[in-house]
Symmetry: C2
Subunit: 170 residues, 2 copies
DNA sequence: CCTTGACTTAGAGTCGACTCCAAGTTATAG
DNA sequence: CTATAACTTGGAGTCGACTCTAAGTCAAGG
């Protein structure tokens, strides 16, 4: 059988869309494990490593801070998740966060559609995320659970085209 | 008739989850228009302003840079979109971006599920963004043609052995 | 009158996430 | 033998997005 294919940092950067500098930076802050080196000290990456960096790239696009990505990488490559109950719990809560982020995004999409299609929707509230270590949360206690009335955006009022996507989740 | 209700910056911060400092900052960088003031110079916000800030909050949660939010706020309160074709195009491309971001996130969710369920998958590729001209044009009339998988994944907490979501969109 | 609290401003400081730089090593091509 | 290219390192610099500070105004309460 043939030896596993490896890649240089440049190739890895090209494949993942993460710059070489950034890959090194991630290694420096130990977000990525120290890559293996060739005899001359150059880093080498395998498909597995590239997949990992790809995952980072995905998470990055969602605006997740680097520190929050760590738990994802801590999942051993092929271990029984049952052996790491805390980790699993952590990841699971992140999953919830992401699911609600998807809902947020979907609302923005709905908002755009509404604006552009000019249909009358109400109630596109709640991008809530609401989590402890959240994105720069702030001040006293909690955000709002208030039902801020329907956005009466008549903004773009073009005649509706009828027949629209489900649009609403929940 | 009663005068329209107004809010202080503090109330606005509470309702939107954006801190007072940040709201002032957004005004400073002209992401938000200069708020009206009372006689004593204090800012006042109306429901409409709160909705706007709330939209910013949504976008922020998705990791969108402030500069990219400007076009969203540039949509005049009640104008015919046809009058602003460039703006509409801009927003539309943002919509595409967000849709693909949803796909990214869905993949991460799938990834998590896969890991935690301990199933053996490989190939969880493609969180691609940057799909500018490629796919975006079919959107012009159909808001939600892509099967951005329904948020019905309740894997956790519920049994959900049966229907693994498409996992691969596009 | 004095204090408290909610606000105002300009501007300084912080922090996360890069991004760039300089100096050095090794491999290949002319 | 030298030049180019692809890497290495540590560290400095940048930039976006806040976040905080200081100094001041104003209104109400004791």
């Amino acid at each position: 059988m043939m030896a596993e294919q490896t890649f240089t940092i440049k190739q890895t950067a090209e494949q993942t869309g993460i710059s070489e500098d950034t890959i090194r930076y991630y290694e420096k802050i130990a977000l990525l494990p120290r890559a293996d080196r060739k005899d001359n000290g150059h880093r080498i990456y395998r498909q597995e490593d590239i997949n990992t960096i790809w995952l980072l790239s995905c998470l990055k696009k969602t605006g997740m801070p680097l520190e929050e990505m760590r738990p994802f990488l801590a999942i051993p490559a092929d271990a029984d998740p049952g052996e790491y109950p805390e980790l699993v719990e952590h990841i699971r809560s992140h999953r919830e966060k992401i699911v609600s982020q998807i809902a947020s995004l979907q609302q923005v999409v709905d908002f755009i559609d509404m604006k552009l299609e000019g249909e009358r929707y109400y109630h596109y509230r709640d991008c809530s995320d609401e989590s402890q270590d959240g994105v720069s949360e702030d001040m006293t206690g909690e955000p709002n659970p208030k039902p801020v009335s329907p956005l009466e955006m008549s903004y773009f009022s073009v005649s509706a085209k009828t027949g629209k996507s489900p649009a609403s989740l929940r």
